[in-house]
């Protein structure tokens, strides 16, 4: 259902619902020009759980997320989505699988348009080209003749989740950094992906915006979404994760519940990282 500017009153709610994807990385390796960035990583994300990847800068966290979101093809090993290897399927089939995954980056990177147009982009690009053309003509007509922008239910639902429901007609360029990142999260969520892949989504945010986004991530988990998150924030990892995975120099050192990883890690390297010993390479420091 479409709403116009002064027509947004009701409170839409999400269906508690929806099927969720199980993601499994099986002995995944990824390298560029002979240099391995991720080596032999095996990790699963079940529906309704938050798996957080921690590790020092350059450990391969972003690359691992890009492999999980099907941005990159592993040089070795398999990424399975509900048991299927997308890279063994046709491009169209892989696109269908990729569209079941939503990705949020460290930077919001919103498009130069309204908040609503940013959030509903996922829905629009899933429509057939003929319908997209019709929608375009209709939208231009609405804007020029009536001067009134419109918004659909899914967009409002996603914005509701990040506390920006009333801001849907604002220009994205006028948002603060925190608001922009919340819109970016809503943009990933609006097409109702089954798995969310989040690359340090709160690293540039103030505590208030971080709290809002963490609550939104938690609500996504409650709805059955699997969440794979990379963060530098140990407290955040401890707060919101069901399981924490420690990545070091491209290798997965240890995976477990946050209580164990942060209080009684099994691997000495994990213990050193948690203590703050492995945050940087001593050789990288200036003399």
């Amino acid at each position: 259902m479409m709403h116009e500017k002064d027509d947004v009153h009701e409170n839409p709610t999400f269906d508690p619902d929806e099927t969720a994807m199980n993601l499994a990385l099986e002995d995944v390796t990824y390298g560029v020009d002979g240099t391995e960035i991720v080596t032999d990583v095996s990790l699963e994300v079940e529906s309704g759980e938050i798996v957080t990847i921690i590790g020092p800068s350059g450990a391969g966290k972003t690359t691992l997320l890009r492999l999980a979101a099907l941005f990159e093809r592993p040089t070795d090993g398999v990424v399975r989505c509900d048991g299927t290897d997308p890279w063994a399927r046709s491009r169209d089939e892989r696109l269908e699988i990729r569209r079941r995954i939503g990705m949020v980056f460290q930077r919001a990177s919103l498009f130069e348009t309204t908040v609503a147009r940013n959030v509903d982009i996922g829905g629009r690009i899933r429509r057939p080209w003929s319908q997209r053309l019709r929608d375009f003509v209709q939208r231009v007509g609405t804007r020029w003749i009536r001067g009134s922008p419109t918004v659909d239910d899914r967009t409002l639902e996603a914005l509701e989740l990040v506390g920006l429901r009333d801001e849907w007609d604002r220009d994205a360029g006028s948002l603060s950094g925190g608001e922009a990142q919340r819109v970016s999260f809503a943009r990933a969520l609006a097409p109702r992906p089954e798995l969310l892949v989040l690359d340090e989504p709160t690293s540039d945010l103030d505590p208030r915006n971080t709290a809002i986004l963490e609550r939104a991530i938690d609500r996504a988990r409650e709805r059955g979404h699997g969440v794979l998150l990379a963060t530098h924030d140990m407290h955040q990892a401890e707060r919101i994760s069901d399981r924490v995975a420690f990545l070091l120099e491209g290798e997965l050192v240890e995976v477990g519940p946050p209580e164990r990883i942060f209080n009684a890690p099994r691997d000495e390297r994990t213990a050193r990282f948690v203590r703050g010993d492995l945050l940087y390479d001593e050789n990288e420091l200036p003399a």
Binding site: L95, M103, F111, I121, I125, P191
Partner: protein, 223 residues
């Protein structure tokens, strides 16, 4: 004498009509040619990309008289396309303006496309976009730069004197209306006759036309 231009609207109208027709068609064709090239170069990752970009940028500074000379040679009776009998016609003027405007539109559009943040393309891909979706979203993000390129191309085309004079010949029919006479060549013609006031009036008309076209294009582009 200057008032004659205003008192005989047929002459003025024919010059304005030809100027606009030639320049708008040249820009339309240039845009159709330039945008795919800008896209292919902007998105492509191939050997010689820097060389192609350098050629496009060099093209932006082509001396118009040299372009006119080359087009004249190609279209003249002795030239490779001489049999088409296009020399001293509005079509020849369109071709010369196309050659001048295309590098400008390509260069500015390419720069606009390349300046779109890679992260925006990643975001477009991340919400489930295909390569075509990513390209379309990038074009949309670059739209103001692309529009600026089209306007710069139009500016170059409609203000052109040298090449249109060579390939068009600044010809008027016996009744005084324009065959290949544009506002710019008419200004040059009037100045040579010593009719500075008439030239100034024509110059003012040209200025108003350019402002009008720019305003319309910017409005359509949402600015």
């Amino acid at each position: 004498m200057a008032l004659e231009v205003l008192s005989d609207p047929t002459y003025l109208r024919s010059i304005i009509r030809l100027s606009l027709t030639v320049s708008l068609l040249a820009v339309l064709l240039s845009t159709a040619l330039s945008l795919p090239i800008a896209f292919a170069v902007g998105f492509g990752d191939f050997r010689g990309k820097r060389f192609v970009t350098a050629v496009i940028n060099t093209g932006m500074g082509f001396p118009s008289v040299v372009v006119g000379l080359l087009v004249w040679y190609v279209l003249s009776n002795q030239g490779p396309l001489g049999t088409l009998n296009l020399i001293y016609t509005p079509e020849a003027m369109i071709i010369s303006q196309l050659v001048l405007a295309a590098p400008v539109i390509t260069g500015v559009a390419l720069s606009a496309i390349e300046s779109v943040d890679d992260a925006v393309q990643g975001a477009a891909y991340g919400v489930g976009g295909t390569r075509a979706d990513v390209a379309l979203i990038t074009l949309k993000e670059a739209r103001y730069g692309v529009i600026t390129g089209i306007l710069a191309g139009f500016g170059r085309a409609i203000s052109e004197v040298g090449s249109v004079l060579i390939v068009g010949g600044n010809i008027a029919y016996a009744d005084g209306t324009s065959k290949t006479r544009t506002l710019t060549t008419a200004i040059q013609f009037e100045v040579r006759k010593g009719e500075f006031e008439t030239a100034l009036i024509l110059g003012a008309v040209l200025l108003v036309l350019v402002l009008l076209v720019n305003g319309i294009v910017l409005r359509l582009g949402g600015r």
